[in-house]
Point group: C2
Chain length 142, copies 2
DNA sequence: GCGCTTCTTTAGAATTATTCCAAACTATAT
DNA sequence: ATATAGTTTGGAATAATTCTAAAGAAGCGC
């Protein structure tokens, strides 16, 4: 039997996490949090999470998946990765780190934050502050 | 009087450039090339170029603007900058360089290639080769 | 220039990702 | 239990981009 739904413990943990983010632990949010944070870090899109939820037997509308992803991002539980103009990726790894992006198949691979060093970033224009520095290493089949 | 259309010399130059890229110098392509390459490097979107063309009295459909931007990019005359999931930016600066991206108003500002150094990029997975390394410095009003 | 072939342009329809909306729910506080 | 404010949802609406097929223009040999 495939392990489809996250266990109760991780769901309770998810509910607690939501409460402390000021979000009501609704059935949908708890279930999505369970799917997102119960396992290793990974990358996803609204569509892929929606599909995963369906596969796990969780009924959620796509609109709610979008709402939830944005709320979780707002709350710092997810980060957004911009690598392709056509799709929005989200990342359960919110620490400072970078990515390989495979232009052939759209796959994202983490590069640990300590690995890469960016030097020489000029100071931003007056009145602006650096929010973050994103590095995308675009790769292709050799 | 505002200088609307590029002068004849730069249009001839544009036509030559197109021919050597294997593209027929049609009225539309020559005009767009004139708007794109006659001045300093800059960033643009399909919509903004389409609007600029209209203002200069050049009749071109939006579909042709999209086609042309892609063909020019293919030919190495433009590069594409991915910073926002909602819009596709193009850049007349095709040399190696990086960008500030202002999250407040969507403005792009060049960072010279020599300024930034990225160290520690791990080698890509077997069979893959690095196409390029993009650095986006996201800034916000302080 | 003429005719032929091939490439281009274009209006408008189609596609895709995402957001909006208003009505039907539901978590939480009292 | 009730009331209230926050949530979910199906479906419509947006917006950027691509597709289609028909009409137009460029290049070539004559
Ligand atoms: Mn990761
Ligand atoms: Mn889109
Ligand atoms: Zn990541
Ligand atoms: Zn640039």
């Amino acid at each position: 039997m495939a392990k489809k739904k996250p266990d109760k413990a991780s769901l309770d943990e998810a509910a607690a996490r939501l409460r402390s983010a000021g979000l009501r632990p609704t059935r949908q949010r708890v279930a999505l949090a369970g799917l997102l944070f119960g396992k290793d870090h990974h990358h996803l899109t609204a569509e892929s999470l929606h599909a995963q939820a369906a596969k796990a037997g969780v009924r959620v509308s796509l609109a709610t998946v979008y709402n939830t992803l944005h709320q979780f991002t707002e709350a710092g539980m997810l980060s957004q990765v911009v690598v392709d103009a056509a799709r929005s990726y989200f990342d359960t790894n919110t620490g400072a780190h970078q990515h390989f992006y495979c232009e052939d198949d759209g796959a994202l691979i983490d590069i640990p934050g300590e690995a890469i060093a960016v030097a020489g970033v000029p100071s931003p224009p007056k009145g602006m502050a650096v929010d973050r520095v994103d590095v995308v290493v675009r790769i292709k089949r050799a």
